[in-house]
């Protein structure tokens, strides 16, 4: 019996067809997987909106920031959470002023939680970025920009609301993340 196989043009076509069929068959699960895996790309963060944070009277008018929790309803994939703390802001106001300044507690460098160091300054525990009480940068600093201020509204009845949003970290420009 002749057991030899001639290597020919037919062989090349067979190889091509085998690779094509196998590739096509494997493509389906890979494509479906990648398609689903990239689902987060089409998801947008919640639109920035004003969230009530506290009462004006709760912010002492001594120019020293105080930490407040931002409370909101939140959707996390399939779960809808009722109102719960979703982040923190620092609020401060000067003597006798109704004007409240709001700073997000997220460090503009790498997103850690910036802490208030006594009544002197802000310091980020991760890389020691230091900021003045009004959020200004203290050089030298790993942070490329001052702390991110948030729009703040004080209503007639004293309710303080903050426009809650996240910003991209690590860049010099203050850019809202989407």
């Amino acid at each position: 019996m002749n057991h030899d196989v001639p290597d020919s043009r037919r062989g090349f076509l067979a190889k091509l067809a085998a690779v094509a069929c196998g590739g096509l068959a494997t493509l389906a699960p890979v494509a479906a997987g990648v398609w689903a895996f990239l689902d987060p790309l089409r998801r947008k963060g919640a639109a920035a909106e004003f969230l009530p944070v506290t009462e004006l009277s709760a912010i002492p008018d001594d120019g020293v920031p105080r930490q407040f929790a931002v409370v909101a309803e939140r959707i996390d994939a399939w779960t809808g959470f009722p109102r719960e703390p979703i982040g923190a802001v620092y609020l401060r106001r000067e003597k006798g002023s109704r004007n409240v300044e709001a700073l997000t507690a997220t460090c503009p460098h790498a997103g850690c939680f910036v802490e208030l160091e006594g009544t002197r300054c802000f310091r980020c525990p991760c890389h020691n970025s230091t900021f003045t009480l009004d959020g200004g940068i203290v050089e030298p600093s790993p942070s490329p920009r001052p702390m991110d201020s948030l729009e703040c509204r004080v209503a007639e009845n004293g309710e303080v609301a903050v426009k809650w949003q996240n910003f991209r970290t690590g860049i010099a420009a203050k850019e809202a993340s989407s």
């Binding site: 057991h3 190889k15 069929c21 494997t26 389906a28 699960p29 689903a36 959707i75 399939w78």
Partner: protein, 671 residues
């Protein structure tokens, strides 16, 4: 060693050479691909490769599913729902994983069949055959553990059965069960453990066995089907081309199963909801709800049916059917390579395998026949028997009396009772499947609302849903007296005849009130006909006073109906305000309804008749369900209705406030 060849040929060639010098990949590829196939490539050899391909598909899709799955009692169903309904392509990913798992079971059977028929298990390949059997059990184990992970009713109940069966293994059974389930009860750790088994332990073990299986396969070479008539071929590309075509065909079948229903809908011009394409997702697992549609996945149906053979044997039967007999069968299969050495051994092995598959097919067929019998049974033929069965409850003496003492006829009818019962069981199963589908759809719909699923999980959502809970609560607590049936439907008459209290379908609407004020209906089965109020004041009023057209002009009656429907909040929004106002005056008037009924501040004493203030509204319904003996409702003329929300001190009421609210909302059609 060959000297470095860098510097020759194009850049690609040079890179390949570079790598080959350092890894020897060409040799490895050559080793892997250039295997001689005695007698040439054949289609019958493709099954092993398709199984490897199916497993790879499961690994790929499984890893991507893993990236979005969350194994816990409050997140498993929810995350699978999210994959299926919210993530782009999630339905396709899950569909491929789900149906490829089923394809794998079929491919396993084909591979086993080919190996046994070709005698490929014989020396020197015995060990590889045993490895194959271990691989088969691992695949079945992955199928079993994967079924639970969505934590839906189907998977939950199937797993309860499977783990309870494991619990009847003598001595160590209860311990095995507890370890697998993760405790004395089903919950978080059942899921984490099954997930670890499904995505970790079992596939890792499978890979280890597969590597040895393939290595031994290469060592022994392909077992060629005798006699060899054609020249030898090469694994690459001859056999691999056939393998690849078979893989593509398997994938095409899987995609077909997923996509054909959707394509059909599209061709018919319908809208395709992709969340409902591919693998099903049942309602969230609920240990407090019966699930009569519980069945194992189709490839385990034969075992389910086999267990029925031992019905009535108790735990012994289950031990025999679920453990001993399957164990013996596996034992025989493990012995096949040794049996094969005997003169008739191979024939026995082939006959045994074919017999086994035939047995599986027959049992599967029987199981399907029992479940779906009502779909193809000739119900006309047993119509009389069915009727007599309902009347006599299958009692022989009653049957004899029913057919007027005709013994031959009674015997003939009794002979058909079995068929009738089979139809009834099948109908009950089909109804359960329908309910399960509706529940599943409703749960998905609730989860898809903008407020999403509460942190407590989807079951909370379902339990707070009037549409899901209303019919169940009604069936449990109300339907032994009350009907809830649209009077326009053909089955209404039968259902109403069986009821002994008012039909609550559409309670609170103008149509319902219109029927109550109809002299032909008020004492009928849909209203007071089957109650103690049959000859009561209201019936007399409707039949006599209301017929006095001098006092009660048709427009007045219309106005009263409109006013009461408005009171419940279920009235027609287009009813003129003047009509309602006129109706309210009549209802309140102490010369009309108000002579007995309190309405607003008309001053009529409570206790003579129901308070019509807010009649049929949520608060009113909650009130009457809570305590119909309250003076606002029937007081001491209450006929049999329990006070569902009231209990003696220290006792539990029949229904919680929440349940009563759900009933009221469902009766009012608010969900």
């Amino acid at each position: 060693m060959t000297p470095p060849r860098e510097g020759r040929g194009g850049p690609l060639r040079r890179l390949a050479d570079f790598l080959d010098d350092r890894t020897g990949w060409r040799g490895l590829m050559h080793e892997a691909l250039y295997e001689r196939v005695p007698g040439g490539a054949r289609w019958r050899y493709v099954w092993g490769s398709t199984l490897v391909f199916a497993f790879m598909t499961q690994v790929i899709t499984g890893l991507f599913l893993w990236a979005s799955y969350s194994a816990s009692g409050q997140t498993a169903w929810e995350s699978v729902w999210y994959i299926q309904h919210e993530m782009t392509g999630g339905w396709l990913l899950r569909g491929i994983h789900h149906f490829m798992a089923q394809a794998m079971v079929v491919l396993l059977a084909l591979h086993l069949l080919q190996v046994v028929i070709d005698g490929a298990y014989k020396a020197p390949r015995e060990v590889n055959f045993w490895l194959g059997l271990v691989l088969m059990m691992l695949v079945l184990g992955m199928a079993l553990t994967g079924y639970l992970l969505p934590w839906d009713q189907k998977g939950y109940w199937a797993t309860r059965v499977a783990t309870n069966l494991a619990g009847i293994v003598p001595v160590i059974g209860p311990a095995i069960q507890k370890v697998v389930v993760g405790g004395p009860d089903y919950g978080h750790h059942t899921l984490t453990r099954f997930f670890a088994l499904h995505a970790g332990f079992l596939p890792a073990t499978l890979v280890a066995f597969l590597v040895v299986h393939l290595a031994l396969f290469r060592k022994h070479g392909l077992h060629a089907k005798q006699p060899i008539t054609k020249p030898d071929g090469m694994f690459w590309p001859d056999q691999l081309l056939k393998d690849a075509v078979a893989m593509l065909a398997v994938m095409a079948v899987v995609l077909g199963v997923i996509l054909v229903p959707a394509v059909r809908t599209m061709l018919a011009g319908g809208h395709v909801d992709w969340g409902h394409v591919g693998a099903e997702l049942g309602a969230p697992a609920d240990p407090s709800q019966p699930y009569a549609a519980a069945r194992p996945e189709w490839y385990f149906l034969f075992l389910f049916q086999f267990l029925k053979v031992f019905e009535g044997w108790g735990a012994t039967g289950e031990f025999l059917g679920a453990i001993l007999v399957p164990g013996l069968i596996m034992g025989v299969m493990f012995l096949m390579p040794i049996l094969g050495n005997w003169k008739l051994g191979h024939r026995f092995n082939v006959a045994f395998t074919l017999g086994l598959l035939a047995g599986v097919a027959v049992l599967t067929g029987l199981a399907l026949d029992e479940d779906y019998y009502a779909l193809w049974a000739d119900k006309q033929q047993v119509a009389e028997a069915a009727k007599l069965f309902d009347e006599t409850g299958g009692d022989e003496e009653k049957l004899l009396a029913a057919v007027g003492g005709d013994k031959a006829k009674a015997a003939a009818i009794a002979g058909q009772f079995q068929t009738v019962e089979k139809i009834r069981r099948s109908e009950a199963f089909l109804a359960a499947v329908k309910t399960a589908r509706a529940d599943a759809e409703r749960a998905a719909e609730l989860a898809g609302r903008p407020e999403r699923i509460p942190p407590g999980g989807a079951l909370e959502l379902v339990r707070r849903d009037p549409l899901s809970q209303g019919p169940r609560l009604f069936a449990q607590h109300c339907s032994s007296c009350h009907a809830h049936v649209d009077p326009e439907t053909p089955e209404a008459a039968t259902i109403l005849a069986r009821s002994s209290a008012a039909n609550l379908h559409g309670f609170g609407t103008a149509a319902w009130m219109k029927g109550l004020l109809d002299p032909d209906q008020v004492a009928g089965p849909a209203y007071f006909g089957n109650t103690a109020h049959k000859d009561g004041d209201m019936v007399n009023f409707v039949r006599e006073d209301l017929q006095d057209a001098e006092t009660w002009k048709p427009a007045d009656i219309e106005a009263v109906i409109a006013a009461l429907a408005a009171e419940s909040g279920l009235g027609d929004a287009k009813t003129p305000a003047a009509t309602i106002l006129r109706g309210r005056e009549l209802v309140a008037s102490d010369e009309r309804c108000g002579s007995c009924h309190r309405f607003g501040d008309n001053g009529t004493d409570l206790g003579t008749a129901c308070d019509l203030t807010g009649w049929g509204g949520r608060e009113w319904l909650v009130g009457i369900i809570t305590d119909p003996t309250h003076e606002r409702f029937y007081g001491d003329t209450n006929d049999r209705m329990p006070s569902f929300g009231k209990a003696a001190e220290g006792a539990m009421p029949l229904l919680t406030d929440e349940q009563i609210g759900l009933l009221a909302d469902w009766l009012r059609g608010e969900w």
